[in-house]
Assembly symmetry: C2
Homo-oligomer: 193 residues x 2
Amino acid sequence: MSKVNWKGSALLSPLPVVAVTCGDMEKSNIITIAWTGIINSDPPKTYVSVRPERFSHKIISETKELCINLTPSQIIRQVDWCGVRSGRDVDKFEKTKLTKEPCTCIGCPQIAESPLTLECKVTDVISLGSHDMFICDIVSVNVDGKLLDEQGKLHLEKAGLAAYCHGEYFALGKKIGKFGFSHAKKRAQSHKR
Amino acid sequence: MSKVNWKGSALLSPLPVVAVTCGDMEKSNIITIAWTGIINSDPPKTYVSVRPERFSHKIISETKELCINLTPSQIIRQVDWCGVRSGRDVDKFEKTKLTKEPCTCIGCPQIAESPLTLECKVTDVISLGSHDMFICDIVSVNVDGKLLDEQGKLHLEKAGLAAYCHGEYFALGKKIGKFGFSHAKKRAQSHKR
């Protein structure tokens, strides 16, 4: 393989594409984010990076709370729309017809159509240049009961989640393995991610 | 939809699954990571979160360099294997038969079979509990020439990248849209991510 060398660029892929909700049940906003990830397992921590000029940046800075709503393919059009328009001009819940529901541990709304939502409290903000990184504790999770089997095990693969890859959205396709599948079963199960 | 409420958990999905290379061309290691993401666009910054007890943690702490190798489905078995075994016990390049190639701006090797690699320099380390977060500048990118069209435009969708979702690996499936597709073309193109 012959590789071409380029200057540094934000080309990590695939990434999650999530709808982040903020504000409260009366005044809220939805911002679409791909600059997110897990940064710690125990305690569970995540981040979202947001440009300071964004409408949601001010809201999150004030309330120190946000909800990460995972995006199934069925609502990708609405979620994309929330990434293009500003909450300064429109009520995104009203325009997209996504359903506002209260969270359990924070004051933000969550999106009912999202099969799994992470309730987050901001603990730190790091300014990095174009974006500020909101570091969060994941304080609570809400899961669509339809994704649980009779033993209560989560089958997130049934959620039909979308991924973001270099400006395009993709449905998750064929399952090609599970963590540790290349190795003996016992060793794989004893390994902590 | 009726959601079940759980305690906080690292359930963000889908995530990238990348093979992080570290060390130098003689003594190197490969560690499989899903706890990674983009944290800033300009300058381009990323992170990887690594447990302090990992073999690669010491190497990265010393050299302050790492290379993020995106994973196509074709090498998911080797990359999974690198996430289960420790570099203390085995030479992972040798065992997986992945091909070691020099990077351009850092001393780490890159994986030839990876279609896109991000050369990174560590600028900060933040201890968060189970994991330490290595914050990095992306100083250089290497792209397989086959992913570029005649105009030099990158078609990353042709790389056949794998995604990580709750302990399982998936190929990216059907394209379901591109950024801004829900909106008028002009406005979408003027929007900065």
